[in-house]
Symmetry: C2
Subunit: 159 residues, 2 copies
Amino acid sequence: MAATDQILIDKLRERGLRVTSQRLLIHRALAAKPQHVTAEQVLTRVRDALPGTSLPTVYATLELLAQLGLVHRVATGGAVLFDSRVAPHSHTACRHCGRVTDLDSRPVTRDALRTARAAGFRPDDAQLVVWGLCPDCAADQTGTTESPSRTRPGSTTSP
Amino acid sequence: MAATDQILIDKLRERGLRVTSQRLLIHRALAAKPQHVTAEQVLTRVRDALPGTSLPTVYATLELLAQLGLVHRVATGGAVLFDSRVAPHSHTACRHCGRVTDLDSRPVTRDALRTARAAGFRPDDAQLVVWGLCPDCAADQTGTTESPSRTRPGSTTSP
DNA sequence: CTTTTTGCAAATGATTTGCATTAAC
DNA sequence: GTTAATGCAAATCATTTGCAAAAAG
């Protein structure tokens, strides 16, 4: 894991910030694989390795990682999701099960950034969220009249 | 105001729902002009005309209007913003002052919807949020080292 | 009159804050 | 040794829920 650790360590030292085990573990929990996780989910993962870690620390660290440009926030309406994929990209969000998935449409966000810049805006990120029914829930919905068994965010990723 | 009222009235009657003054006023507060407002801001406006209106009613009604397709939710991380412009479109959000502004980039969301559909997703809305500094705050930032006097959402609109 | 909608109070969920203790440097 | 980071408890903010009273059809 030293590979991704080093990036964080360098950025922390650059700014005179301290390298702590919480910061390393929280960063690892996200950097491991592309995913969309809530602060609560990050806490669960980190606690395996470092019991006693607290939610305020997770929030503070995610905020720090965001400032360092190592994670992005994805606002979908409920809890904020944190994404280790930092290049501007898009997501789908299912109204039924809540699942958030990556969607590749790079030129899309690229155009939006250009348009914003033309309007005098100084953009640093662009997030496109497409709302609707994911393939699974769209299939279920055929004929059935079930009540929306709304699930919390989860985290799947597909390019 | 009968013009926009009628649209709501028809939709309510179609579904056997009741036409109440709260529903009319909340709808008017949004339909008047394109804007991005929080539930709290809607309440403030509605209370001028109908004191005693409550926040739970505002939330319930905004949810209803969203289901009727008369408003859209815009998730920017903090309080959800409600937008009477229902055609898929984009927004800029300022990291400094929090201001949310319309941004026209129709082909952008159109492409995203197509891409999502191709992936088996059944989309009903697409929201693109471009984050960064608005023209005003970008100008202020030149040289000055002020603390981010973070303001709550506001509501400006520019095509 | 019947049923939906409202308002109120209280609950919930996400995130932040204050402060004493602990760990980096 | 200093100072920044952490953990805990409590506060805050946005939103939802339960239930009795008011209003629409």
